[in-house]
Symmetry: C2
């Protein structure tokens, strides 16, 4: 038996282990000093009450013969798909129910979607970016090319017609840069994809943080996107579902490549290799979209937005250049004094006890940048920003 | 963009849609007649109380800041892996914690495991069998050969050294035949795998139904299996988790092919393409292994076993030959009067109002056989067997 030797091409992911190592060293040297984590991508607020009650109720359902649910549909229960359909309709996106697939999170579907795509496609991935796009394609042996995201394009690379890409990753609002494409910019990507017969994989995991109503929350707000794009979304950041695990993927019926309908391929993939998301989790997800749930999660999003405000206000005040933080939970700052991202990491840790994420971990273009997140507590966010101010001023 | 064209080689799965079509026709012609479903692979008893209470408690945990859990380890929480380690130890199988991966069900991992295996391997699959093994390999374009399971080998095919297989599927207790390998037989498969440098994918989803203590419940009860086998297990049938979604996969550290450690590859696959099973579900699964949970699920298994007894006693009484039903929830009967499996399906439906699953749906060797399951209610099982008796006598 020969294993998948493409795995030999994967680089070990040192980012979070290297952060942990450096923090441990600091703690050993400074056991009495407080450390404030401003680099985490996980949420900190608990689930809202509507979701908790719905899941408790669902667990009770499964304990009674009259209301027991066994195998559910692999693509998700209609009670949840209907809510998502309505959620899209709020932005004037009309979906058929069969275009919506419930997942256990965007990460699973972003990886698994590659099952239905050929290995000989060339993949275009922005740099810097969420490392999963790169690694999942290396595992399949696909040719990867990069689109540079940098200050000159506001970390929003635009299509280059001299380059032929078959599969294009777009993450907006972006992880890690927090940059958000506007409709005109996304329209250019859709136009490029259609003229090149390419497929866009659109990661909208942070759409709930888009406050500016003129910015698109879904690629399907762009004309013709249903002919060239799959969208991946998640309740992880929207509703604090990082430990609950639920997301959704939209595969339009209009996606036809080499006479093969991608919606049909994905349905076959999911019915063959997946057994659906837990009934309890889907009931919790349904509650996210209830009136009460919507109100409660809006409060949580507001809390994180205010954290982002505190961070961006501080950075503005002390003259550190940054991107994101307005329609995004991520703040991407330019390291002061032309420091490298690991150098700034050490400085922030040793001089202020604050931990962030070095941009180098997201690609070569991240080398002089640093990611902070809005997911800490209010108290820690305020404290960290005070320390940063004292450090820089 | 070129899709994965291997999907063009998949045959449409007509089995359950064809059953549904024939049942609908019957119902239209006989609207007043009762139909008893004896073909379902889903469980019918509700979750036991220990599991329901654990999941309610876990949902409450997530609703409070002090006990909130966000992203968990992709490979599962140690609180659950420890329980599974102890469960294996009861059968004298010693596992390292890092060999145990929590999954959202055996179906997911049986499909996803192929990510870490090369495409050029030849795959040996028993016929008849659970259709997922075949389809997932067609999706990857692997060469598939079949091991005939028939009356002459008691539906337990043994290795043939003249055939070189790189990946070998074994499901014991078997779906659909209910046949169970003994230790000597499994040892022969392990010996074959080691001498051929093959990997065994062992599906033990029905291990909880093994009553005979001399029969293996895990392939790791066989010497040297840790050098050649991965095991997939599920709480679906053990604890009625078909709608809750939790299983586990054991990838021993001793599996090394082409200098690549499969455990490390699988860990990388899961950390890249998966975000772990819901905290709530894992808390429910932990309760399955508590003293109270074990007692409660044992009662459910006994209930299904008694259903299987009622079925096998009836078949013996009326002289219909069968396999399984003793250490398995599946009863695989030979259609009377040399009938084909669809012919018998129609006869049973039209003369008795009973639905089962035609063996032809599981492969060519299933053509003259028929699957009944022990998962119906007691009342329906008794009623269906009475009708079968009247039909045959």
């Amino acid at each position: 038996m020969i294993p998948n030797t493409n795995y030999n091409q994967l680089k070990d992911s040192y980012l979070f282990s290297e952060i942990a190592k450096r923090v441990a060293e600091y703690s050993n040297l400074n056991p009495e000093k407080e450390i404030i984590k401003m680099g985490i991508g996980d949420v900190t607020l608990p689930l809202c009450n509507a979701v908790v009650e719905a899941m408790k109720h669902a667990a009770e359902d499964l304990g009674k013969a009259e209301t027991f649910h066994g195998y559910g549909p692999e693509q998700g229960y209609d009670f949840l798909r209907e809510k998502i359909k309505d959620y899209y309709a709020e932005n004037n996106v009309e979906l058929d129910l069969n275009e919506i697939f419930i997942s256990d999170g965007a990460k699973s579907d972003l990886g698994n979607i590659l099952d239905i795509l050929g290995k000989d496609n060339t993949v275009l991935i922005p740099d810097p970016v969420y490392p999963v796009y790169v690694d999942t394609n290396i595992m399949d042996g696909r040719n990867i090319i990069y689109a540079d995201a940098n200050e000159s394009n506001g970390f929003l690379p635009m299509p280059d017609y001299s380059i032929k890409a078959d599969i294009i990753y777009i993450c907006s609002p972006n992880n890690p840069t927090g940059a958000v494409y506007n409709k005109e910019q996304l329209q250019k990507w859709v136009d490029y994809a259609i003229s090149n017969n390419s497929l866009i994989l659109f990661d909208s995991a942070y759409e709930a943080f888009v406050a500016d109503k003129s910015l698109p929350r879904s690629i399907f707000q762009i004309e013709d996107a249903k002919k060239c794009a799959i969208e991946f979304c998640s309740l992880s950041k929207t509703a604090g579902f990082t430990g609950v695990r639920c997301g959704y993927t939209v595969v339009p019926n209009g996606l036809v490549f080499s006479d093969m309908k991608l919606n049909k391929l994905w349905l076959r993939r999911q019915t063959t290799k997946f057994n659906g998301v837990s009934y309890i989790v889907q009931k919790g997800a349904e509650a996210v979209f209830s009136e009460e749930g919507r109100r409660q999660i809006a409060e949580n999003i507001m809390y994180y937005r205010e954290n982002a405000n505190i961070i961006t206000n501080t950075l503005s005040e002390i003259g550190i250049k940054f991107y994101g933080g307005i329609n995004s939970p991520y703040i991407w700052l330019k390291c002061p004094d032309n420091m490298g991202s690991w150098e700034f990491f050490d400085k922030l840790l040793y001089s202020a006890g604050v931990i962030g994420t070095p941009g180098a971990g997201f690609g070569k273009n991240g080398d002089k940048y640093f990611r902070l997140t809005a997911f800490s507590s209010r108290e820690n966010t305020q404290k960290a920003m005070l320390k940063l101010k004292n450090l820089i001023d």
